[in-house]
């Protein structure tokens, strides 16, 4: 990793830290690089001795809020960054692959492989169109993009070499990606996984809201029980009111159990998402 990459990654992970603080932090690390270079250390060495941006951001966040809260926050931010990274990488690679296919197609009019790939893409798009308005827009964007690429072939070559030049550092990431695997994972994720993922997330949010409402109703029943006992404590209603009091306590406990279960599950969920994204990016590499 180079200096620029390190700083960019660090900045990405520093989401949620006040912007003036963030600026100062970035300046500190830039100064560190500057002085390190004066002391005749090379960039790679400095980056290595500084450690992981992810860890640094974790520590920074810990200085701003309580450790338990900041841990969950870190988990969420790391998942977000991993998702962003993966989408970016996937986008660039698909872009390259598609333009490769189109260019090849232009050179010798019909390659079976490229036709199959394009066919698969169009099939995917067609399936998506059936689903919803948002996906329709997405599909239109993909089709538009394909058309744009087709007519821009001449400029493409120079742009590609330029990008290859500027991205020499992440060369190893660009090598050895399989088109079929990209399409497979795209199809699997869009058609199957993402719904499961969203569904689980909403399920968890539902759990949290249910927990909250149980807590509120528990508190209300408990409060009413006490109020009524004080206001009119005639022996007949007393027993009923006591029962209400205890059911209020029970509900309060049940609600807190739900909400703490939510906290625990959401952590697990975020960790699982991170692992899943890593698995995906490993899968699309050959």
């Amino acid at each position: 990793m180079k200096k620029q990459e390190f700083l960019e990654e660090l900045e990405e992970y520093l989401v949620g830290i006040p912007s003036n603080e963030k600026e100062e932090i970035m300046q500190d690390y830039e100064e560190h690089f500057k002085i390190g270079k004066k002391k005749k250390r090379n960039e790679g060495e400095i980056v290595k001795s500084l450690g992981e941006p992810k860890e640094i951001a974790r520590e920074m966040r810990m200085t701003f809020s309580s450790s338990k809260k900041s841990e969950l926050k870190s988990e969420a931010i790391e998942t977000w960054v991993a998702m962003k990274k993966f989408t970016k990488q996937l986008f660039h690679n698909t872009e390259d692959k598609i333009s490769d296919v189109i260019q090849k197609d232009k050179r010798d009019k019909s390659t079976l492989a490229s036709k199959i790939i394009l066919g698969a893409l169009i099939f995917l798009v067609a399936v998506l169109i059936i689903n919803s308005g948002f996906l329709k827009i997405l599909a239109l964007a993909i089709i538009g993009y394909l058309a744009y690429n087709y007519y821009k072939n001449d400029n493409k070559k120079t742009r590609r070499t330029k990008r290859a030049h500027s991205k020499t550092t992440s060369k190893e990431k660009k090598r050895g990606l399989s088109t079929t695997k990209i399409i497979l994972s795209l199809a699997f994720n869009l058609l199957f996984f993402i719904w499961l993922w969203i569904g689980l997330l909403f399920g968890l949010i539902g759990l949290f809201i249910a927990g909250l409402s149980i807590i509120i109703s528990g508190a209300a029943i408990f409060g009413f029980g006490i109020f009524a006992l004080i206001a009119h404590g005639d022996p007949l209603t007393k027993n009923i009111l006591f029962a209400g009091l205890f059911s209020g306590i029970g509900l309060l406990i049940l609600g807190s159990l739900f909400t703490s279960l939510f906290g625990w599950f959401i952590k697990l969920y975020l960790k699982a998402t991170q692992v899943y994204i890593q698995l995906n990016s490993r899968f699309i590499r050959k």
């Binding site: 500190d28 002085i35 004066k38 001795s49 500084l50 640094i56 920074m60």
Partner: protein, 101 residues
């Protein structure tokens, strides 16, 4: 060494090093990470925390080899804290030594 343990020790290291003389970030981080196996990057958050807690202050100073550098120095509160931590450490050391005997 255990990381949790290391973290506790780092405050003492930073404050005591700064008690001797003011350091700029790179110098301080480099010095401490040489003796205690910790990545240099994770020391900056500690500096930031100590500054936010009012133990450290910073100022910019020109250097003859390039742009100005950010120097760290102890505040009165920081000096007191350094003394306190040192006493705690001495006490802790004694107790551990007794156990190890």
């Amino acid at each position: 060494m255990d990381t949790q343990f290391k973290k506790g020790v780092l405050d003492i290291c930073v404050l005591s090093t700064l008690k001797k003389k003011d350091h700029y970030g790179y110098e301080l981080v480099h010095k401490i990470s040489k003796d205690i196996a910790i990545t240099e990057g994770t020391l900056y958050p500690i500096l930031r925390r100590l500054k936010n807690e009012g133990y450290l202050q910073t100022y910019l100073k020109e250097s003859n080899e390039g742009p100005s550098r950010k120097y760290y120095s102890l505040t009165k509160k920081g000096e007191y804290r350094a003394k306190e931590l040192k006493a705690e450490w001495k006490d802790f050391e004694k107790k551990i030594n007794n156990i190890l005997k």
